[in-house]
Subunit: 201 residues, 2 copies
DNA sequence: CTTTTTTTGTATCAAACGATACATAATTAA
DNA sequence: TTAATTATGTATCGTTTGATACAAAAAAAG
């Protein structure tokens, strides 16, 4: 790409990961440029040259989060054959991810942009889109189970998908309030135990 | 109390209610003094004379919210005799309150202070205390049901209370994302349907 | 009356905010 | 070499932030 001129003196990916930690912990509005540049180990002009602006940096952080932590949480939903076990594994992965001791608790996406005054419109839209996509993923997994004959076609897939996405989002708040892995696992187990009642089994 | 001096020219309670709307919609950091004074119909010196500072105003708003909207949501939990119906009513009241068309969607307390950088320490502590108290209220209701012989003593009351508080918190995020009363009711119904599985019935 | 007390509106404060101007340094291309 | 290009550090920009100083206004107390 750009080979001419003075080379960048920092690792762009490493800096982005540092920025993710800051935004994840403090939120968009709560993270000042000073917080970010300090954590990233660079000065403002380097940040603006490499990422554009604070908003663009946040959007890029969102994609990084989705690609790494997000994938970690959601992969089991597709890979586990039995639908109830798949959702159970997905919720346990959520409990695990949300209580990692070396990371901010809860989900960057679930907790972001919940107040209109604290994020820009593009960020709010992107966050809402990601959260809506979570419901879609769950619904499609349930539809697959119906297609495979594992669940009756009479179930309300949208309602059940919304239920599990809502439980997961609530787990982010629980994790932020200091809920440990044990507490999160109880919620995951409880929601899994509800599966039969929800699917009319 | 203070009868001497120039009388206040605005309704303190009405102004507090306006402030609640702003904080509820935009969050603490997202609400500027200009937003607040504009909505309250007063100038900064009047705000500071009547409420102290932005932080104190928010804390007072929290109490108002808890006393009004909060009571609206939680009263059924105590008044309904049957514990499953009590929790069901509590969740339906939540669904109703979170989707009022003339109010911000979701709960001021559930959505507040989720990012350390966006609130002061006293506010974060007060919000966490309120949310922890929600779990206590649910646990005590379950303990009452056990004492009344409605549920077996073998159940994990803390785990079940945490589950329902978590579902309720998730409903705030769903409501913020545009989830309507129908979607919220589905979640409430689903969580209520899970009651028997959770209580080993 | 006059004095005292409190509130009000205007105008503004110092600090923090996101974002840049600018000169210098470091690299490639000619 | 020289020119062109890009990144860096310092220092600072204009705005917005939460919060006040101040004088005028409006009430009760003496």
């Amino acid at each position: 790409m750009s080979e001419r001129g003075r080379p960048r003196s920092f690792d762009r990916t490493a800096a982005l990961e540092r920025a993710m930690q800051v935004f994840w912990e403090k939120g968009y509005e709560g993270s000042s440029l000073a917080d970010l540049t300090s954590a990233m180990g660079i000065n403002p002009p380097s940040l603006y040259a490499a990422f554009g602006c604070k908003e663009a940096l946040y959007l890029e952080v969102m994609e990084l989060y989705s690609r790494t932590i997000g994938t970690e949480i959601w992969s089991a939903l597709e890979t586990v054959p039995n639908v109830k076990e798949a959702i159970g594994s997905f919720l346990l992965a959520t409990a695990r991810a949300y209580s990692q001791p070396d990371q901010p608790h809860g989900c960057l996406i679930a907790l972001g942009g919940l107040h209109s005054g604290e994020v820009t419109k593009p960020i709010c839209d992107a966050l809402c889109r990601h959260r809506a996509d979570n419901i879609v993923k769950l619904r499609q997994r349930l539809e697959r189970a119906v297609a495979e004959g594992e669940l009756p076609a009479s179930i309300d897939v949208e309602a059940i998908a919304t239920f599990y996405a809502t439980v997961q989002n609530g787990m982010s708040i629980l994790a932020r309030d200091g809920g440990d892995h044990r507490a999160l696992k109880h919620v995951a187990d409880g929601a899994t135990a509800a599966f039969d009642a929800l699917t009319g089994g």
